[in-house]
């Protein structure tokens, strides 16, 4: 069951309604271009008036995004996009708020705001461009750079352990987490649609390629040669099956996930774990989000999508309740409230 329904479009908008007249200045071949196109394809189909979109970002290559969209938009300061989006959404919960952020922006400098926004479950859509590197500052390692990678600031290879964004999101009580690839625009579009429909913080991690500073960072997952064995596309209600011959699957063995081959060792399709993106208990979702090559394929699509009260709606409800039950209707009532005394 989906947790919300989007109205059918009130007016027919097209991609052109959202294309900005500004020159897009990302490097040719950067994965950001594909993400921009996918967003331009999604916005006209959400049934939301064009003046009700606000695109918010921090700082980084990806965070230039608002300038390239013809919506309301605000480009903030490094790491603080989540706080900016929070203010926009709380000030006017009717707006459709999209936050654009990079792996450095939201998991290094902005880590604190990122986890707290998720914890509060503010109804915004976060598109996390994960190129596993700092692009705008030209190639320093980020909190998602694989251990051992040689970058400008780790000439001998990083000695840090990277974050897995999905783990961080679910660990912060996130209710919506999905993964997409810049190389698969169709799937990306449908994941964005699902994120838009979700009420609450939705985080979509997009594995995005920085052609300049970490080209092929996601090659194991996206290249023709290896992708079949390393991509697992999730579908709600369907078993976790992958591989070129679609004969590999994931089973739950004890407290661990395991990769098996259907037809070997007596494994049948019925043994394969069936994906339930609406399961409230985060346990299995956490395990699915953590899957990484070489042991596992990477789970793509919607990993978790659970309905829960949102902070913005709860605040609206609280204010409504207080307004109704209070005898204060205006600032004068407040100023005049007892104890007061009169001199005449």
């Amino acid at each position: 069951m989906e947790n919300t329904q989007i109205d059918t479009p009130v007016m027919q908008l097209t991609k052109d309604d959202f294309a900005s007249d500004q020159m897009v200045k990302w490097c040719p071949g950067c994965g950001d271009h594909a993400i921009l196109h996918a967003v331009e394809n999604v916005f006209p189909n959400l049934g939301i008036a064009k003046e009700d979109f606000v695109v918010v970002s921090g700082i980084g290559c990806s965070s230039r995004f608002p300038y390239y969209m013809n919506t309301y938009g605000i480009h903030g300061i490094h790491g603080r996009a989540a706080a900016l989006a929070t203010g926009v959404k709380l000030a006017n919960p009717k707006l459709s708020v999209w936050m654009i952020t990079g792996d450095g922006d939201c998991m290094a400098i902005g880590g604190n705001h990122f986890i707290h926004t998720i914890r509060r479950n503010i109804d915004i859509n976060i598109l996390l461009f994960n190129n596993k590197i700092y692009g705008l500052t030209k190639g320093q390692y980020s909190p998602t750079t694989p251990q051992g990678s040689k970058t400008k600031t780790s000439p001998q290879g990083t000695i840090e352990r990277p974050f897995n964004p999905g783990e961080l999101v679910i660990g912060s009580q996130g209710n919506f987490f999905a993964r997409a690839l810049d190389t698969n625009p169709k799937a990306m579009t449908s994941v964005f649609m699902e994120a838009a429909k979700h009420k609450g913080t939705s985080v979509v991690e997009i594995l995005q390629n920085c052609v300049i500073f970490f080209n092929k960072a996601h090659d194991l997952i996206t290249s023709k040669e290896t992708r079949d064995d390393n991509q697992l596309w999730l579908e709600h209600g369907k078993p976790l099956i992958f591989g070129k011959d679609r004969n590999k699957g994931i089973v739950l063995k004890g407290t661990r996930l395991e990769v098996v081959t259907i037809g070997e060792n007596g494994v049948t399709e019925a043994d394969i774990l069936v994906h339930d993106q609406y399961e409230k208990d985060p346990g299995i979702h956490m395990m699915i989000a953590r899957m990484m090559p070489p042991e596992y394929p990477v789970a793509l699509g919607v990993i978790r999508s659970v309905a829960a009260p949102t902070f913005d709606q709860s605040l609206v409800d609280l204010i409504e309740h207080e307004k109704q039950t209070s005898k204060f209707k205006t600032a004068d009532d407040l100023l005049q409230s007892s104890p007061t005394w009169t001199i005449d």
Binding site: S20, Q22, A49, K50, E51, D52, V54, V56, S57, I59, P66, Y67, M69, N70, T71, Y72, G73, I74, H75, G76, I77, R80, A82, A83, L84, A85, T86, G87, V88, K89, L90, A91, N92, K94, L95, N112, H113, H116, L315, L318, I319, E322, K323, T325, S326, F328, K329, T330, A331, D332, L334, L335, Q336, P339, T340, W341, T342, I343, D344
Partner: protein, 615 residues
């Protein structure tokens, strides 16, 4: 009622100081006494003085909490230099407060606590109340603790609850001494402890016991009366600076027709503004307690972009964290009020003590050229008007405003003549109209140089703002060198032109004199008191107290030029004087600076001014 046995002595003004252990409830005692002072019709000002630790070791000097109130039958602008009456609940509070009591002053002590154990904790080797060291004072030894126990024996309370009420015994005694009706306080108990009738009963009994004790023992020999102050007609209340600040914003939002959004993170002494605004969801206030000060201000910027009157509240260390975001608000030319309730610094400094040392940070503490309007509140009640004005200036001129208050204003309280919101100045934010064909994000009003506020959700005004430099008018991202120079100058000029909308700098006293005293912000009360006093004594002296710091009032230079000597007085190491020197280097400035986490005293200021006048 009392006063039958005793003769009544009328006084012009009195300073009472309550002091006890931080667990003794001295702040409550003081504020209840203030309430009764208000009902007695006196003008007053208060000064709470409490330690940074919530419960420092019991009985030690570091754990002493004090509350001073100055009230009178004339207008009162300060919490007073030295106390006429000191209530000391234990030896430590006596020790800590000896320097705040007038010669011949009255000291009421809880004699139950002046035993070896507590004397030793306070660092006394002998009992000062019996060893003659208090011979210059009148000391009333009262067994407050044991009489409190006696007063509530019939209620069978546990010993802890019993002792918690002993502050009410002391309050009862002082209430009696100043001919106050305990009724006001009884009403407070009934409201506050409505769910717990036995606590109401206990507090009432103890207060009454203290009151009657003072009566029957004729402890002072007479009671005092301070007649009502000649306050102008109107409805009044008692208000602290922090509450007044919060209410000023509520009034401004209503008057401007904009929703109020606060993004904030707790920090002493600003927290109470966040708390107060959190209460007022009933008036539609969206108070958001963020994960840190950066999220506080940045969420406010998001709300401002979205059309709210957005504010953030903090103290010095939090203002440091907000610097980068203030720059964003400058660049996006969005309204935003940043309240800085100054405390002693640097770093964590003296968190519960007041200082005026964030002025430089407010003026210059940002990267790039990032001018903002700065308004400094001058009294607890002025916090209301300053907050209102800061909101008005910020919205009408589309630029951030830093509102400087300080710890003594924040916690200090005063009599507040309640204004009608309709009588406050109108506020007209420059909201862009839907589908305005002329709209461009950075097109400016020719007079104010502000841009228009185009609110998300409005058809036809979609636009992008952000921290990158913007092209004049179009608002497109621009790295053009000449455009950057132009925009930098425009942002500066926009703030300077605010002076055209500010009142001229006023002077208390003659237009020309030997000495001009210059001060700003929270020291107004004491400055005014000392200057008026010296004027009455015949000195050639005037006061220019600044409320508008950036921009300065248009006539500032002219005012400074009219006096033979200038002295600038600040609770810091000379920040405003440096700013004046920078702007008006032609004048010679003397300065008086106090950096002790303590307010100015009338006496010390007068001494300085006399010295300068006689030099």
């Amino acid at each position: 009622m009392a006063n039958n046995n005793n003769k009544v002595v009328e006084l012009e003004q009195v300073v009472v100081r309550f002091a006890g252990d931080s667990g003794d409830g001295m702040q409550l005692t003081g504020s209840l006494f203030s309430d009764s002072t208000a009902f007695a019709g006196n003008d007053f000002a208060t000064f709470p003085d409490y330690p940074a630790e919530i419960r420092a070791p019991q009985g030690t000097v570091s754990g002493v909490s004090g509350f001073q109130i100055h009230f009178g039958r004339k207008n009162v602008y300060t919490s007073g230099d030295l106390a006429d009456v000191l209530v000391a609940m234990n030896p430590a509070s006596l020790k800590a407060n000896m320097r705040w009591i007038k010669p011949q002053g009255l000291i009421i002590i809880d004699s139950d606590n002046f035993n070896d154990k507590w004397l030793e904790k306070a660092g006394y080797t002998t009992d000062p109340t019996t060893d003659g060291s208090l011979s210059g004072y009148r000391v009333i030894r009262t067994p407050i603790s044991s009489m409190t126990k006696e007063a509530v024996k019939h209620l069978n309370l546990d010993p802890k609850t019993t002792l918690k009420t002993k502050n009410m015994f002391a309050l009862g005694m002082v209430m009696y001494m100043f001919s106050r009706e305990p009724e006001v306080i009884y009403q407070y108990f009934e409201k506050k402890f409505a769910a717990n009738p036995i606590v109401v009963q206990a507090n009432k009994s103890v207060l009454a016991a203290g009151y009657n004790y003072a009566d029957t023992m004729e402890i002072v020999g007479h009671v005092y009366k301070v007649n009502p102050a000649p306050l102008s007609k109107g409805k009044y209340r008692n208000i602290t600076g922090n509450v007044a600040t919060a209410w000023g914003f509520i009034a401004a939002a209503e008057r401007a027709g904009r929703p109020l959004f606060l993004g904030s993170y707790p920090i002493t002494p600003a927290t109470e503004i966040l708390q107060e605004l959190s209460y007022h969801k009933n008036l539609g206030v969206k108070a958001f307690q963020a994960e840190d000060e950066i999220a506080g201000i940045v969420s406010a910027i998001g709300a401002s972009y979205t059309g709210s009157l957005a504010i953030t509240t903090t103290s010095g260390p939090g203002l440091s964290l907000k610097s980068e975001a203030i720059g964003l608000a400058v660049m996006t030319e969005l309204p935003l009020v940043i309240v800085d309730v100054q405390r002693g610094g640097p770093s964590t400094g003296l968190p519960t003590k007041s200082e005026q040392s964030d002025l430089m940070q407010a003026l210059f503490g940002r990267n790039g050229e990032a001018p903002v309007i700065i308004v400094a509140a001058q009294s607890p009640t002025d916090c209301f008007y300053s907050a209102y004005e800061a909101a008005k200036l910020s919205m009408e001129h589309m630029t951030p405003v830093i509102l400087l208050t300080d710890g003594s204003l924040a916690n200090g309280s005063e009599v507040f003549r309640i204004p009608a919101v309709a009588d406050l100045p109108e506020i007209h934010p420059p909201i862009a109209q839907a589908n305005d064909p002329e709209y461009k994000p950075y097109r400016r009003d020719p007079e104010k140089l502000n841009r228009k506020w185009a609110i998300p959700g409005t058809p036809g005004l979609r636009h992008r703002v952000g921290g990158l430099e913007k092209e004049d008018v179009s608002g497109n991202v621009s790295h053009d060198p000449l455009n950057h120079q132009k925009m930098t100058l425009l942002r500066e000029e926009k703030v300077m032109r605010v002076a055209n909308y500010l009142p001229e700098q006023k002077v208390i006293g003659p237009d020309e004199a030997e000495l001009l005293v210059v001060s700003w912000g929270g020291t107004y009360g004491v400055m005014r008191t000392v200057v008026e006093k010296m004027q009455q004594e015949g000195y050639s002296i005037a006061l220019a107290h600044f409320r508008h710091i950036m921009p300065l009032p248009r006539n500032t230079e002219e005012v400074l030029g009219r006096y033979k000597k200038i002295i600038v007085c600040e609770i810091n190491n000379g920040q405003f004087v440096k700013y004046l020197k920078m702007n008006f280097p032609q004048f010679k400035y003397h300065q008086y600076n106090k950096i002790q986490g303590l307010p100015f005293l009338v006496a010390e200021l007068q001494e300085q001014f006399e010295k300068l006048l006689n030099a």
